[in-house]
Symmetry: C2
């Protein structure tokens, strides 16, 4: 937790209130904060501040904002991922948010086990968004989309996310072109499930405007490939 992220409702008066048990536990026991210490604080969907600790009690901590600080920029990228295993989903959301992805879409695909859509983590995505923002020091949650049908998404929704200025790259081991690097424009990235998109899906993606690109001949896990691809694409950002 590199900032304490508050709801706007907790930051309406002159003194702001930290009342999440998780945040209080971390501040008291990991950081051992005292009255008079300064903290980095963010308001969800708004600014980021340095604040001073005014009062510490059992169930709340009162702080006073001192000055505003810049919020880190987002990466101009929409990340479309075939729905992963629940354990991977948590990390993937948290990492994508930490790295500044603007929009995350979870998509069904032939090789996605249908049971993955039943995971309770899907109802807790916002918690992992919060952890990712607190790690990065960011305050703006990404947009999250969920599409449980592949074909209607690819035919009706995806084409609106693609243009000459905003290409879409699908990572595909058999592609002849390499994934570009150090681009200076927005883009959409598609990452397949374990085992990859099936040929029918790759064809449909290509027909609807995606470029299939290779990442070399190592097979990389979903949760690892996401930071790897973001580092590669946005290294000048």
């Amino acid at each position: 937790m590199n900032i304490v992220l508050l709801d706007p409702a907790s930051a309406q008066d002159d003194l702001w209130t930290i009342q999440s048990a998780r945040q209080i536990e971390h501040l008291k026991h990991q950081l051992d904060i005292k009255i008079g210490d300064t903290l980095k604080v963010g308001i969800r969907g708004a600014g980021r501040y340095t604040a001073e600790v005014i009062e510490i009690s059992e169930r709340k901590i009162l702080i006073q904002p001192l000055y505003e600080e810049p919020v880190p920029k987002k990466l101009p990228v929409t990340l479309i991922v075939a729905m992963p295993r629940p354990k991977v989903l948590r990390r993937l959301i948290q990492d994508a948010v930490t790295l500044g992805v603007e929009k995350i879409i979870l998509l069904h695909s032939y090789r996605v086990d249908k049971s993955y859509w039943q995971t309770p983590f899907l109802q807790q995505i916002d918690h992992y968004v919060q952890l990712g923002l607190e790690q990065a020091g960011d305050t703006f949650p990404p947009e999250i989309g969920i599409y449980k049908r592949f074909k209607p998404f690819v035919e009706d929704v995806l084409p609106q996310m693609i243009s000459v200025e905003r290409p879409a790259y699908v990572a595909h081991p058999y592609a002849t072109h390499s994934m570009p690097h150090a681009i200076e424009h927005p883009c959409t990235i598609l990452i397949g499930p374990e085992g990859g998109y099936i040929p029918y899906e790759i064809d449909l993606l290509k027909k609807n405007g995606c470029q299939a690109v290779s990442l070399g001949n190592r097979i990389i896990r979903t949760e690892t490939v996401i930071p790897y691809v973001l580092g590669r694409l946005f290294s000048t950002w």
Copy 2:
């Protein structure tokens, strides 16, 4: 598991033997292999092959190598990481190996909790190396080094890993220069612990030939920063 990685001892006769319970379990229950199927197989420290399944029994699977295939190239990088929490260590080793890091060094640092060096995972590193190689389809384990004293390592060992042709970059949030991208030469990368290297350590690293470079103003977890940095540095590789 994208290849079955065997010890050279299991591959001395005309038919090779898979006898690891973990590999047999995966082949039988995840991949549901049958006699006559082909498998991707690697010999640890040697070649990679397509092989045919000849015999399946309770405790072993016999296979016949058909033809050799290329082993993925390594990245020309030495990755020096402040010893992380045990849970992170496993993932870090596995991901670094999957991505093709040539040499991995675990280093003590002021903000590394001394208890981390007691973890049983340190005795099981080779298992995570094996999993990383099997994921990538690689056969050559990286070199692994362990240094429990920061200063002697930085003063006596590190300088031998640095030259004009092989710079060393230490990720440091307060650096004025950015981490380079798409480099076409070998390098050494240093990643700090949670909370970063302390100023004394950064100074000592700089005095001994490292360049402090920034990755922007998002704070990224160790396990996430490694694929992120490798994607950024080696995107033309």
